[in-house]
């Protein structure tokens, strides 16, 4: 079991107002699976994604990632965990605009015990793996198209050989055709054995996954295997 969540609860306190975002969510994800988490805004799917991505810790409940308990870690330990086990792909790409493609991809290897040559070799490998043309490796990231940016972001998420890939609305800023291309890239990664969790509010996008979990009002509403894969 790559991911194991037991009764996750998350309560945000803002002054006197308490907002319950997750009301007790339990599920597991096997290694090599491709899971979509789908739900309308306010359903708690973003909160769930933050907890799964070790960006936040649950108020209650337990979360095991690759055998390690995440819910009890401090800020630095969470940083270390994110660096070693999680690859993020964001809706807004979040690339450093004035940096080259290569530099963006190498960013997660900063302050780790790797040589410059090793970093660059791994970055090139990850970029090719994510389907990026070699001629663009030295372009600045703000000179790329949306689809290319998302490929760079995918390459960045892969560079540290993460246990899970976490994609938060990866097609939210892309047109339909580019979305298809990016989603096919995720399917390729799934075929190569990566564990992928995709957060989205569009059923079309969620359909690319093998398993679809629907979240509503802080609870799991449905958890089904995609018919295409059955």
């Amino acid at each position: 079991m790559m991911i194991d969540c037991k009764n996750l609860r998350k309560v945000y306190v803002n002054g006197d107002v308490e907002t319950v975002a997750l009301k007790g969510v339990s599920f597991g994800v096997e290694k090599g699976d491709f899971v979509s988490i789908i739900g309308p805004s306010g359903s708690g799917k973003s909160t769930l994604m933050h907890i799964l991505g070790a960006l936040d810790v649950p108020t209650e409940g337990e979360y095991f990632l690759d055998g390690a308990e995440v819910s009890k870690l401090n800020d630095d330990q969470l940083s270390d965990l994110r660096r070693s086990k999680i690859g993020f792909v964001f809706q807004a790409f979040n690339l450093l605009p004035r940096a080259t493609v290569l530099r963006n991809v190498m960013l997660p290897l900063l302050f780790t015990e790797t040589t410059q040559e090793e970093r660059e070799a791994r970055a090139r490998e990850a970029l090719k793996y994510a389907g990026m043309e070699e001629s663009k490796f030295h372009n600045l990231s703000n000179q790329l198209s949306g689809g290319q940016m998302q490929r760079v972001a995918i390459a960045r998420s892969l560079i540290n050989n993460p246990a899970i890939l976490l994609a938060d609305e990866p097609t939210g800023n892309l047109d339909t055709r580019t979305s298809e291309v990016v989603m096919e890239a995720f399917q390729q990664l799934h075929k190569k054995g990566h564990t992928i969790i995709l957060i989205t509010h569009e059923m079309e996008v969620a359909q690319y996954a093998r398993r679809i979990i629907s979240v509503r009002d802080g609870l799991i509403e449905k958890d089904v295997i995609n018919k295409k894969y059955a």
Partner: protein, 404 residues
Amino acid sequence: MLKDLLKETIWSLTGNKVRSGLTILGIVIGIASVITMVSIGQGAQSSIAANIESIGSNLIIVRPGAQRSAGVSAGFGSAQTMTIEDANAIKSQAQSIKAVAPEISRRYQIAAKSNNTNTDVVGTIADYLIAHNVKIASGSFFTDQQQKSSAKVAVLGATAKEDLFGTDMDPIGQTIRIKNVDFEIIGVAEAKGGSGFNNPDDNIYVPLTAAQHYLSGSDIVSMISIAADSQEAMAAVQDQITNILLTRHGISDPTLADFSIMNQNDIIATASSITGTFTILLSSIAGISLLVGGIGIMNMMLTTVTERTREIGLRKAIGVRRIYINLQFLSEAVVLTFFGGFVGIVLGWIASLLVSKFAGITTLISPTSILLAFGVSAGVGIVFGFYPARRAAGLSPIEALRYE
């Protein structure tokens, strides 16, 4: 690790050259202006002090006071009451004095072979050299023998020599004509570096007796200079002189004295207080530029860090520890302020050298002003570069990424 930190810093700073350049510019201007202004103020102070020192050391000057007839004052220095006898009395009665030099001085038109000039002719005695710190550059000062015989000899000040004979010619043995009397030149004094209306370098010295016989025709002196043994003795010496002169002139009420005594310390104190005010004025202008520079740096740093909150969020999200984010922003601020500071110091230095070269004002670069200027801008830069970054690094990565 350290290599990564350095590379990230340099990349960040060179990645946005305009932003870095403007920040550095603020620091440079702040520091350079403080250093230049303070150096002008301090230079003025020290050059005035040096000018006063060149008059002589531990000097007390007695001048005739205002002459009063029926309550009407004829003005300072108009009294014809001080004589060579007064000087002799001071010399024989006062304690802890090194030299007493009476002088008769007046402005005359002086003619040499081909040039002429209008300057002060000072009739005095050998003690004048001690009291006023005059040194002879070539030839000699007049001897006691020449003094007794009212010899028609003269010693030229450095400027007077240049005016009359030019720079190259040796004037010794030549004659000059003062009030239709020929004087033979026997020596030239060393330049003292004075300037202005009462320039000691422009004087021509003749024996006191000669001045009496050929020029003034009386034994009224225009000034008596007294050199005390030491700085500490000056007050006591001044009191003794006052008493001696009051007794000799038969005046019982000191407020009605027909002479006035000035000592060098008074002159220095007055001058210092003037230049002190001047320095404060310049320093406050410099302080304001430092303040404005500081606010500029603060603005730049705050905007930069706010702009980069998302970047900080991203770095955190992909697993960079908080400490490395803090270190990176700290090192960016340090590099900016130190680089700007260095350039500012060099520029301020050059500016004050240029001021002294082209405006002819003495400048004095003070380490205190360098430290102060550098300290303030470095402090402002580092605090406002580091503190908001630290706060951003403390945010949860989600909040930082969402930051607009």
